[in-house]
């Protein structure tokens, strides 16, 4: 029996090779279908995994509250007499959250201001961050030299500061910054540490924009509150603009992942009571993660649908070719029937041909699918060289997508292609077998 199957296969391949171009084009249809399944799923996976990593970088147990400037009309309600309008999260909010929400494990208050820093004649602009010692850990910052801020720095409101790598490089190109003092506003701050370089985080949308850490200066938040205060006046062309914010951001860590969503709801409720305007935004990475997973699922379904369509088109191609082949080989069918072939033998013979076509298409399609990573890389490189302006304008997701071939997509695509070969090959094969041998023999 296996011997007979072998012969059937050999015969099928032989018949296909009689029309190499025709067979090639049919295989091409399946090849495109299978390759596109693998490609589309790989691209989808690449995009969604990137988003997922970004969100996971924020911490799954974290809840992030940021102060945002309320819209113009809501400011007018307060009255135009005051040019400086306080907004954002307050210290009172912070204390309330810590005392009333029991599932909060740790809370990090952060205050960020754009400022000028000086040492000797050198002046640079950067971000002054008032924070607590945990800030370094939460943002995955590592100490290069010296130390990060300590609790004592904070409690005693010492004028200590820690420089980010970029700041240190610009202010102290030649000296060791540790032990020196830099000038911020009117006061001097002793440099106690320098951090290692850190790649910026990508923006997640909503209230979280991309963060650059390399031009920061970190000081204890209590020092910032007492030395600099809540009101920041920035000079614009011809006028001054004032802002009054107590806290730029509070990062809450919840004790358990299961409690994150409940805690987030509670936090939102608590804040709503004391804020008439929407001057803060609550970001829950876990929620984003869930959304991203849903999006990913939708993406897979969508891509799958497109790929399925192309596979069906390939299948129709197979059927079309096989119907033509059956008509063309009517006489051969007649001869074989006269010489003793059963209907089943004829069906099998033609089915083997379609399966051979779709197996070859499926196998090459899988190989084609595996090339998507280097190919997309090459494509991107070529585009960057040929039209850099256009390339810059593309969204970041497209510029940076790295396709990840999903392992299960390979057997899936291959299986579907073979199934399609069988399904679409069955009808022509059965039609061939159903022919009357006498009629078929007479066929010219």
């Amino acid at each position: 029996m296996p011997f007979l199957w072998l012969r059937t296969w050999r015969l099928g391949v032989k018949s296909l090779l009689l029309h190499p171009l025709r067979s090639l084009l049919t295989v091409l249809g399946i090849f495109i279908g299978v390759a596109s399944v693998v490609w589309l799923l790989a691209i989808g996976e690449g995009i969604s995994r990137k988003t997922q990593e970004q969100i996971e970088g924020l911490g799954a147990t974290n809840i992030i509250i940021r102060s945002i400037k309320p819209s113009e009309e809501s400011i007018e309600n307060v009255g135009s007499s005051r040019s400086i309008v306080p907004y954002g999260i307050t210290r009172a909010d912070f204390d309330r959250l810590i005392t009333t929400v029991p599932t909060i494990d740790r809370a990090l208050p952060i205050r960020e201001v754009r400022y000028r820093f000086g040492y000797l004649g050198r002046n640079i602009e950067g971000r002054l961050v008032g924070c607590t010692p945990e800030y370094a850990e939460v943002n995955q910052l590592e100490v290069d030299r010296g130390r990060f801020l300590s609790d004592t720095d904070d409690h005693k409101k010492w004028n200590h500061c820690v420089l980010a790598a970029g700041t240190a490089e610009k202010l102290f190109p030649f000296e060791n910054p540790i032990g020196r003092a830099i000038r911020i506003e009117q006061a001097f701050y002793l440099v106690v540490g320098v951090m290692k370089e850190r790649t910026p985080t990508a923006g997640i949308g909503g209230s979280l924009t991309a963060q650059e850490f390399n031009n920061d200066v970190y000081i204890p938040i209590r020092t910032l509150w007492s030395r600099i205060g809540d009101i920041i006046v920035t000079r614009r062309t011809g006028s001054f603009e004032g802002e009054m914010i107590e806290l730029s951001q509070v990062t809450l860590r919840v004790d358990k992942v299961e409690n994150v969503l409940k805690t987030a709801a509670l936090v939102k409720e608590t804040l709503k009571l004391h804020h008439r305007k929407q001057d803060y935004a609550v970001t829950v990475p876990l929620e984003l993660l869930k959304q991203a997973k849903t999006t990913r699922l939708m993406f897979i379904v969508f891509m799958g649908l497109i790929a399925a369509i192309s596979l069906v088109v390939g299948g129709i191609g197979i059927m079309n070719i096989m119907l033509a082949t059956v008509t063309e080989r009517t006489r051969e069918i007649g001869i074989r029937r006269a010489l003793g072939a059963k209907r089943g033998d004829i069906t099998r013979q033609f089915l083997v041909e379609t399966v051979a076509l779709s197996v070859v298409g499926g196998a090459t399609g899988v190989l084609g699918g595996l090339t998507c990573r280097p190919l997309i890389g090459a494509l991107r490189g070529a585009m960057q060289r040929a039209a850099p302006d256009v390339f810059e304008q593309l969204p970041e997701v497209i510029r940076e997508v790295t396709p990840i071939v999903v392992p299960w997509s390979i057997p899936l695509a291959f299986g579907i292609s073979v199934t399609i070969g069988v399904i679409f090959g069955l009808y022509p094969a059965i039609r061939a077998a159903a022919m009357d041998p006498i009629e078929a023999l007479r066929h010219e």
Partner: protein
């Protein structure tokens, strides 16, 4: 000895748009083993229908048909296929070789549908090729052969399953006179060796060589003569 084929009051009718066509009416025919029968008659006389019935390509509407000791009037389609593969050797006017197969593979086709090809049988197909004088062309394709050579391959193919009888449908219709003679001589030799041959033809010269001539007219046998020259 059991005759190669027996037909008892076999009738074949076709239902067409215009009504029923009686292709064969109550035909009774016995073909003993070793016979050489020519079936002759004008077109429309039922020659082809008789050939299709004897070749198990079709079943009689009524009446009986026995091949060897097997009743095949009511056999299933698959059973008919098995009988064709094992007990009937076909030779056609237009040779009917399969173009993508070599000479040897063409000869083996009936064995393939019997479901077993072993070394002994493969050896046999070589012997058959040698018997018809094509032992040196085993790897050739049908298109590389002349008409006469192709018909020899067909004869070798018809012998491979050691059939009850060889059924030849106008075997020389496409051949010139020299080749016709060669093929007929080959068939005559095979008959001398004991093979039963049924040949359907409308050429009197072909019919003359047979031991027995059966003439058909309007679906019935009108004469059945043993030829005197044997």
């Amino acid at each position: 000895m059991i005759p190669a084929a027996r037909m008892l009051e076999a009738t074949k009718q076709y239902v067409m748009d215009g009504g029923t066509v009686h292709a064969l009416r109550d035909v009774s025919l016995e073909i003993p083993t070793g016979d050489y029968v020519a079936i002759m008659g004008p077109s429309g006389s039922g020659k082809s229908t008789l050939l299709n019935l004897l070749g198990c390509l079709d079943r009689p509407t009524s009446g009986r048909l026995m091949l060897g000791d097997e009743e095949i009037s009511g056999a299933s389609d698959d059973r008919l296929s098995e009988i064709r593969a094992s007990h009937i050797g076909f030779i056609f006017q237009s040779y009917n070789l399969i173009p993508q197969l070599s000479v040897l593979e063409n000869i083996e086709v009936p064995l393939y549908y019997q479901g077993r090809i072993d070394r002994r049988r493969r050896q046999r197909s070589r012997e058959m090729a040698e018997l018809v004088g094509l032992g040196d062309r085993l790897k050739h394709r049908p298109t590389q052969l002349s008409g006469g050579q192709q018909q020899r391959v067909a004869i070798a193919r018809s012998l491979i399953n050691d059939p009850y009888f060889i059924l030849a449908d106008e075997p020389t219709g496409n051949l010139d006179s020299v080749t016709t003679e060669e093929i007929l001589r080959l068939l005559g030799d095979l008959n001398e060796q004991g093979k039963t041959i049924i040949i359907v033809t409308h050429e009197p010269e072909v019919g003359k060589l047979a031991k027995r001539v059966v003439r058909l007219r309007d679906g019935s046998i009108c004469s059945d003569k043993q030829m005197s020259h044997v």
